[in-house]
Symmetry: C2
Subunit: 333 residues, 2 copies
DNA sequence: AATTTTTGCTACAACGTTGTCGATGTATGT
DNA sequence: ACATACATCGACAACGTTGTAGCAAAAATT
């Protein structure tokens, strides 16, 4: 059932039918009603591919993220989807699995008109950003959230990572920690850096000498990370406070502490970035910096849709910073 | 940069260029190389929308699920995406938020050639399945996973829910529970029913009289669920074992137990379906039935791609049942 | 009454690709 | 030498939609 067939049923030209269905002012109310009734009767629906092709816009956006089994990216997708559903957009999901090569090949797939815009959080390993500049040059609107590419001129939605880094570290200091470690994933990640800078600033503010051996930059291989953490906690140099940049590393620390019979929070206190809803029920309950993930998704998606819809307007290079909250629990008691 | 322009650069007809790029046997190796080199040089990429339009296939599938902030659906998406990436397919995500009306409108969006197939897990509230039959009638391949629509003739990938229900209940019985409760979401969900039937069967096998008041069918409103659970745990009728069909309800039970100072596992033992990686670190660590979520995604996607690619072959009505594992932890000690 | 304007519709050309068919030239077989 | 097969390419018509241009008839203006 296509336009031509529907038009034949109605004894109208198919361009008239097309215009009637899209409420064009060129068509009288009477025929509009007649057309719409018939369309409903025959269950006609426009072929979205043909429409996309003709209009050169797909009403589809791509969300490119490192992973989906994640208490942060989950709610972000929720936020994105909520706006997309309001505005009648479709959402494609692509996972980079923290792999730059995969990220590059995904971006390449999006160069040919498949999507009207891209929402992304770059992978840990992304050092080169040529692929991102290239797709921007092709005119595909791009909005970053959380893990941004600093040097690319695109709207960015983040949280107050630097300030949160200060807050988290000061929280540990106030709870009596003297030797505070910082755990993060790859150091060339924007968020890791900002949080670390906050950490270093807080140490400075409290006249604590920073110690390189207490800064752990982890890898993708989680087995390796476990042994890195284990090594640190077994050393004489053992920290009495840990600020983890991602929840995964906090959980890994819980695991090691369990094995080494190090008790939290007596021997060591832990605070982490986390959006896990099980944090209150962990043993011990976990003190977290929680990001407004849902709102972040909504905000990033809103910005993207705005730039997509008024094509004339120059892509703004606005930076939006949302605030995270520190939730005290027993791991830092 | 499109085919016509590329062809002009090469002094070839654009149909020759098209065929050269798709490795047609009609084109000599020499020109193929020449064309491909030029295409690379000018960074030409086929317009996927035009291609989809012409070929009447989009290389895109839709994944329709209730929610994404979920330790089960997350890995499922991972599994689906892994196969999709292998086969060069794109993945659209749609969330029903357990709402039948939303599910219906989403399915309606997919009726017009936007996707080559659909992978779905139906919402809690889906009682009527006319929308699913309709889209199947339109020739869009459909594969169900986990939460299936029993009466629809489509491939289904599930886990051994009935048997897992028996295992979970027997586990509680072996640990000395006499009054075992079953918590589930909406009862018109296939998985809830199968798990409950397993639960009832296990009770029967051990000559325990089933008690209607111990079967809790919850709603979408999580506040309401909390008070339902609280009411049950405050009653004189209090169970000494709980089998939860979804993790959310187990966590809710932890919360209530914390409030009422009921100790787990001394006063009450808990086992639940869950794919949470924090289960070992909860207080107490949580005994779970864990589903092979990633494999489920892979399996469902494989089946869909097979039926999509050999269009001639009739859609098989195969049923695949994967096995879940019971992981004993302290909540049932 | 002659004119311009408006209304309501149709015809038609794109959007960029792919597959079918036909044309030409070259190799193979009798 | 002639017929047949094959290899290599070009011309062309779709796929279904939407926007522009055109064309009557009706309405409004002069």
């Amino acid at each position: 059932m296509n336009l031509k067939e529907l038009a034949k049923e109605l004894n109208l030209s198919f361009s008239t039918v097309s215009k009637a269905l899209s409420d064009s002012h060129e068509i009288s109310a009477a025929t509009k009603n007649r057309v719409k009734a018939k369309a409903k009767e025959l269950n006609y629906q426009v072929n979205s591919i043909a429409s996309s092709f003709r209009k050169q816009q797909t009403r589809t956006i791509a969300v490119v993220i490192p992973e989906v089994v994640n208490d942060f990216f989950g709610p972000v997708i929720n936020g994105i989807e909520s706006i997309a559903q309001e505005k009648g957009y479709h959402v494609l999901i692509y996972l980079t699995h923290e792999d730059m090569e995969k990220e590059i090949s995904i971006i390449k797939l999006l160069q040919n008109g498949r999507v009207d815009g891209i929402l992304m959080s770059i992978s840990e390993q992304t050092s080169n950003t040529a692929h991102l500049e290239e797709i921007q040059a092709k005119g595909v609107p791009l909005v970053f959230f959380d893990r941004i590419a600093e040097h690319i001129d695109a709207p960015k939605v983040t949280t107050d990572d630097y300030f949160s880094g200060i807050k988290a570290t000061e929280h540990l200091i106030q709870r009596g920690c003297k030797r505070i470690a910082y755990f993060c994933m790859s150091k060339n990640l924007s968020i890791s850096n900002k949080r670390m800078n906050g950490y270093l600033e807080a140490l400075k503010m409290h006249a604590i000498e920073p110690d390189e051996s207490l800064i752990l930059s982890c890898e993708r291989d989680s087995e390796k990370n476990l042994s890195l953490i284990r090594a640190l906690l077994e050393s004489k140099n053992r920290p009495d406070g840990i600020f983890a940049s991602v929840e995964k590393l906090a959980i890994a620390t819980y695991e090691i502490c369990q094995q080494l019979e190090i008790s939290i929070p007596e021997d060591i206190k832990i605070i982490t970035f986390s959006n896990s809803y099980t944090a209150p029920f962990l043993n011990p309950s976990l003190t977290t910096i929680t990001q407004p993930a849902f709102e972040m998704g909504r905000k990033a998606a809103s910005i993207l849709f705005n730039t997509v819809e008024k094509k004339a307007v120059q892509m703004p290079t606005e930076k939006t910073e949302l605030v995270s909250v520190l939730i005290e629990r027993n791991s830092t008691l």
